[in-house]
Symmetry: C2
Subunit: 415 residues, 2 copies
């Protein structure tokens, strides 16, 4: 059977919309027919099951690819991550999104807006999944954000610990201070700050399952009197604190709510406090992957730094330090994907094979995006205009020493 002219037209349309990435496209599960070939023989073969899938790809390549990969109508023979990296590069350089894909992206933004009720729904869909599922592939402390690897060969558990210390050192926490955390996941950072830096923490999250888990941990670790886990929206954070920290939540705030988020930060730290936001970002403003928004993270958005600066600037907050940890997120995702791949049978028992394939694509796609620079990871440390305890240099972030002696070592700037 040779290709019909309709099929050939669809393939050409798909290639135009994806910037002609290097791969071999095969139609039909029997894979006799090569519909398109680009690049060397080392490049992967994409097997598209049927004409319906081909037509869906031509209409909205990103969402159709994700959905068809998830339910098995698309197979990738070869290195999935490398293929996704090539695809992202070619889409960045030469892709033209069609009207349907643009409309769908806009529609997703509309229905998944991160209003108070929308956030509740969006966060529930991802973070209220069974905690045993996340335990299969996260580190022992259940930190579901980019780790910080002091060396390339550090393990994931150490790197998540090092990330929390890196954040605490950037915040220059001092015993007795009050810290608020917006979006606390399963509570690891809040507990770490209280335990090792002697601060008291109010940690906010609207995921019921995560808060329940975090409270349990606080009790077990004897920290319930110093860490309060609050099941509430960040917009309800009230009261003056010494420091504000948010790791991996800004992605769920959405650009239309940045001004609101900025006001929450400013009323928390005022002109004398300081804070840190850690978030997935981009080199320039761009919508988040529509498939990820549809199936994995409804309402997600990764801002460019200009958008974050516009959040700080009207409040006269000083940006003290921006660090780009993009390759650390790639490394983190390598660990997660490895562990996930090692737990595929368990995950399949929990949620079925389609879930396994969808989440594998999400992890592999995220890894590819950080590797190729489609996504960045920024830590932004900031302070109110009259904050006076800025460290003189950043050398204290890199001081060696017994990590169990968590003694703040920065110097106070003096006049």
């Amino acid at each position: 059977m040779s290709f019909s002219s309709t099929e050939q037209w669809l393939v050409r349309k798909i290639l135009r919309m994806t910037g002609n990435p290097p791969f071999q496209l095969v139609l039909g599960r029997d894979a006799h027919e090569v519909a398109h070939k680009n690049g060397s023989s080392g490049k992967p073969t994409i097997v598209v099951a049927d004409r319906r899938t081909l037509a869906e790809l031509a209409l909205d390549p990103e969402i159709a690819f994700g959905d068809a990969y998830s339910d098995g109508r698309i197979e990738v023979h070869g290195d999935l991550v490398a293929f996704l990296e090539d695809l992202m590069r070619s889409m960045h350089e030469g892709a033209k999104a069609g009207w349907y894909a643009r409309l769908r992206s806009w529609w997703l933004d509309l229905v998944d807006d991160n209003s108070r009720s929308g956030s509740k729904k969006n966060i529930h869909r991802h973070y209220d999944l069974n905690v045993d599922f996340y335990k299969l592939w996260l580190d022992e402390r259940m930190v579901y954000t980019c780790a910080y690897f002091p060396t390339v060969s550090a393990g994931l558990e150490d790197a998540q610990l090092a990330k929390m210390d890196h954040v605490c050192r950037k915040l220059q926490l001092q015993a007795g201070e009050k810290v608020v955390e917006a979006g606390c996941g399963w509570g690891a950072l809040a507990l770490h700050m209280a335990k090792h830096y002697g601060v008291t923490v109010r940690a906010f999250n609207i995921s019921h399952e995560q808060i329940a888990y975090a409270r349990e941990q606080a009790k077990r670790q004897g920290l319930a009197d110093r860490v309060e886990f609050v099941e509430d929206d960040y917009r309800n954070i009230a009261g003056r604190q010494d420091a504000f920290v948010s790791v991996g939540m800004l992605e769920h705030v959405g650009p239309s709510h940045y001004e609101e988020f900025g006001r929450v930060i400013h009323r928390t730290v005022g002109d004398c406090g300081r804070g840190l936001v850690h978030f997935i970002g981009r080199n320039h403003p761009h919508p988040f992957s529509p498939w990820i928004r549809k199936r994995i993270f409804p309402g997600a958005y990764a801002p460019a730094l200009s958008q974050v600066m516009h959040m700080f600037e009207p409040l006269n907050l000083s940006v003290l330090d921006v660090e780009n940890l993009r390759m650390h997120y790639a490394k983190t995702l390598e660990h997660w994907l490895d562990r996930f791949d090692g737990s595929v049978d368990r995950v399949s028992q929990m949620f079925g094979p389609e879930f396994v394939r969808a989440w594998r694509l999400y992890l592999a796609g995220s890894l590819a995006a950080f590797r190729c620079g489609g996504l960045q990871l920024f830590q932004v440390a900031f302070a109110g205009a009259t904050y006076r305890q800025t460290s003189w240099t950043r050398a204290h972030l890199y001081e060696q020493g017994d990590p169990t002696v968590r003694e703040p070592k920065w110097m106070i700037a003096t006049r």
Copy 2:
């Protein structure tokens, strides 16, 4: 003599335009009459010589204060820097610029635009002053930008050396690479990079005097074959280089030329190179002091980070690192002001007493602005989207060791 109602009205107007700063205002050189008193007795006394000066202050406080302070019609009894700090704080919080001051600020922007010819004129006015004058109060290497003090007590010479190393480490220079510098002053950084990091440098500057001095230094240090000082506008930088660096020039580019500046950067480093810009910035967009623009730095502008991000983002450049060195510039200015004060007689012989007073006000005002946060100092390191040699962490910036063994010690990010 008591105050006329006109004088009282003028004083009230001045206070409204400056946000009612804490000081005592006295009219007349004999200083019998206190026109206004705000704050404790420790606050300075401002002696305004005559009613004409009072009227000028009421019309355009910043320019009138600068000019009247310079020619002696205003005296500040007390700590000049502390007074200026208080003034800046109160102006930031509650000042309302009048129509005349706004019009004059707009007019300055118009006539001092940093076009090719405008830049030539603007740069000539400041940087082509007698090099012996700058030698009186800069460090021995003639570095006229914010130093980096590894410790608060480091001396100025060491701190300027440390700043150049800090920049070179951030750039991760490797022997044999090609670097372009936009705005090279008297050449210290270009020579340092070539001498200690083994790179070849093309360094641009439109100040004739500075280029002449820098070329002389290159010959003396035997570096003329590796450092080319080019008397030309940054807009004429051409050819692909491994790295782009610009320390203290962005302030002279002007926001209407940032897009152009971004294009120069991008065509220099492409997608595979990297660079660093070091500049005086602000927490939020705001015009530069009109008096400084009128008398000291025509065409100067200190951008907010959002404005700089808007320069990088359309070019898909990745921001790797932003460091705020505000207090280092305050410290640098303390050294410069000390040395300047110790050379007042020489400066007065060179340019007369009015020049001495004007430059003293400029240095003291800059010091006050960095102390109170009206100005910030940002170093932004960036790279093309496919730059692969990003250091794994920033720890290499803080490694100890013999500073004469300038061996790059970063780790290459590997996949």
